[in-house]
Symmetry: none
Subunit: 221 residues, 4 copies
């Protein structure tokens, strides 16, 4: 039987969200025109559409383990993330790409702790080996908060890898496309975005230039 959680959740969608957005869904019936591509983690605690309170049609969303961006590798294999990236950039012509990392990421941790294979195929082991080039950006593994620094580094590395795709590089350079890094804190609801100048992660600024921060993030200052 279809999971009760989903059936009842769908009922709730039909009763509450869908009536409020019926017009938008009707408008979107034939095609989508999102301006933003989000590359985030499969993690159940990190739903981009929830964190950004996004309506239908707004976020083209890739979700893979540890929000990884493989480098450009045009061979005969299946590249799910690269395919979605190509579709978003070349077919939908999105204007922004956001790589969204998050706290206590199981994929980053599996890499850092050299976790044992989960099955004979060792799919996770191979996939998270994509974290490798980020290590140099993460600082001392023995110092505090290493996993958080590594999560930040994975985001920065993802932005670098995006630039290895010729169609991304070209559009970034001519100004049609912008790349962004961000990190979600889960427990406190805090979101920080990467300053492209300094590489530091800080609260996003609104149009008045004021930081948008959670109460918990403010309390921890």
């Amino acid at each position: 039987m279809f999971p009760v959680y989903l059936t009842e959740g769908y009922r709730s969608f039909l009763e509450q969200r869908f009536p409020a957005e019926r017009r938008r869904f009707a408008q979107l019936a034939q095609s989508q025109q999102p301006e933003i591509l989000i590359i985030s983690c499969c993690d159940s605690r990190v739903s981009p559409s929830a964190i950004f309170d996004a309506g239908p049609g707004e976020l083209f969303t890739i979700r893979n383990v540890a929000n990884l961006v493989p480098p450009y590798q045009p061979d005969e294999n299946y590249h799910g993330t690269s395919a979605a990236l190509e579709f978003a950039v070349q077919a939908l012509e999105v204007k922004h790409i956001v790589v969204l990392g998050h706290a206590t990421c199981g994929g980053v941790k599996a890499y850092a702790q050299k976790a044992k294979p989960l099955s004979e195929g060792n799919f996770i082991g191979k996939w998270v080996s994509l974290v490798e080039p980020a290590v140099a950006k993460a600082g001392d593994p023995e110092a505090p908060n290493y996993l958080t620094r590594l999560e930040y580094a994975v985001v920065a590395q993802g932005l670098e890898n995006l630039m290895t795709f010729p169609f991304v590089k070209e559009r970034v350079e001519d100004g049609r496309l912008q790349l962004h890094g961000a990190h979600f804190g889960v427990a406190s609801g805090s979101l920080v975005v990467r300053d492209p100048e300094t590489g530091a992660f800080k609260a996003p600024l609104d149009t008045a230039g004021l930081p948008v921060r959670s109460a918990a993030a403010i309390a921890c200052d």
Copy 2:
């Protein structure tokens, strides 16, 4: 600058959703224990957490173009979808996997219409070639509603491909894991789920055995 749509959406999340779910986020701070894996499309109109009104921690979510499940292929390449599947089943021990297709899927259409490569790498062309084995299940390409039938067939094929993974097969056979297919209609908000006996897609049933259907779906009868 970080997209205004996201900064303001995050503000809305902080003011509305996060306070209502602060307890759940705190509880989830250290780890996730979702019972459901959703494999759905990157499409901006199809957010599983919206369609199922899911709270934080509930849905481990893979999103790739056309909600495709590659068959088991334990080689040296990166397999993002297989890695996420392995993590969900072997590490998180989810109890349900839902392959969620949707209407007017650009990836399925790209395959059906043999679209031209979007870039030199032709990532989408190779990725959507995974649709191929589903064609035989979709019926006459000249008859009406072929694309919808092909979307349904992609879901059915995904369920078949899931069973090529030994760790999935074992758990399905001993009852620890259930596989489900579903399809979201976008325009009308209709959701249908696949009957494992007949292969037909119908409204999901609630615990009283009554179908949960959108007003539009009812009106179309």
Copy 3:
């Protein structure tokens, strides 16, 4: 560490419920004077204070597996339920006792299906043997809904067993104490109470004589 679910739940209690009921809690600081004793199950889905939206100080509550009332047995052993019953009736002088059963009761099922011992001590096996005298009241085990009928019979048997306590019998007979049976449906939110004349379980009546029923219970008619 104390469970986050409880710490955050307590925060929620402090912020919402406690301020609204601070006066009542202050009034109750030295002693309680409840008029109702509820004997219900430990089951996590059946909280009497939730189902009856009860405020602090209103319900003296025994919760044991399968809401069982052992018969009067004045020996040297520890009788937790009989002790609580004695305290409620003799010290607090409650005016009502409600035995509250519920749907899909694990304890009743363990008895009906002769479940294997859960540990060497077999505490559950011995405890649910108290269901035995109710069997004769439950009808044909092969006919549909046997477990529900057995749950009803356990409630009826509990009311009978209450009358084996001299201090209960005396007060019921002189009108100071009333005994009631009820059953909660979980899935549909339906509550039914036992008609002392006929033994049938029906929706409770309000002071205007109208049944108070859930929408689901109405829909199932």
Copy 4:
């Protein structure tokens, strides 16, 4: 007639709480999977589901007089509390057990003041004799706050007695189960939890390490 307080409370549940939690109740229709067992008092002022703002399905709850845990005693008698403990640990595999004491506990007081039997059966007298081993932990009976210290000691003794159950001991030792002590203040709404290192009772800490305390508790500093 069924008590009006309950009928009207049930109406309130149907109109307010049930619609908000219909999905959760539907999901719970077939079985429960609570992670926490609470052992608390029957006292009408101490509802665990209220104090922890717990939703349906979250707390498996034993309520007996004075929240007592009898020691392991595998004989032929009925042991209601041990049976519920066995069910929670062995069948439901809860991860936490909380023994929750409270202020002005009538059962503890009855023991301390050697209250007269309440009936010929003297059920309370025998039951609260389980307080006996806690006396040595409570300090000088003539010094101030003896009853509070005895309530704390009963909680500590309960935790000790839990460890006499082989199935509890085994799971605590291999890390699958954690034991906790707590005490609720009634009048001020204050909750304190037992520090397993020092045995002191203090405010619980949230995930940021900050104490969660009632305004009254803060004012009393």
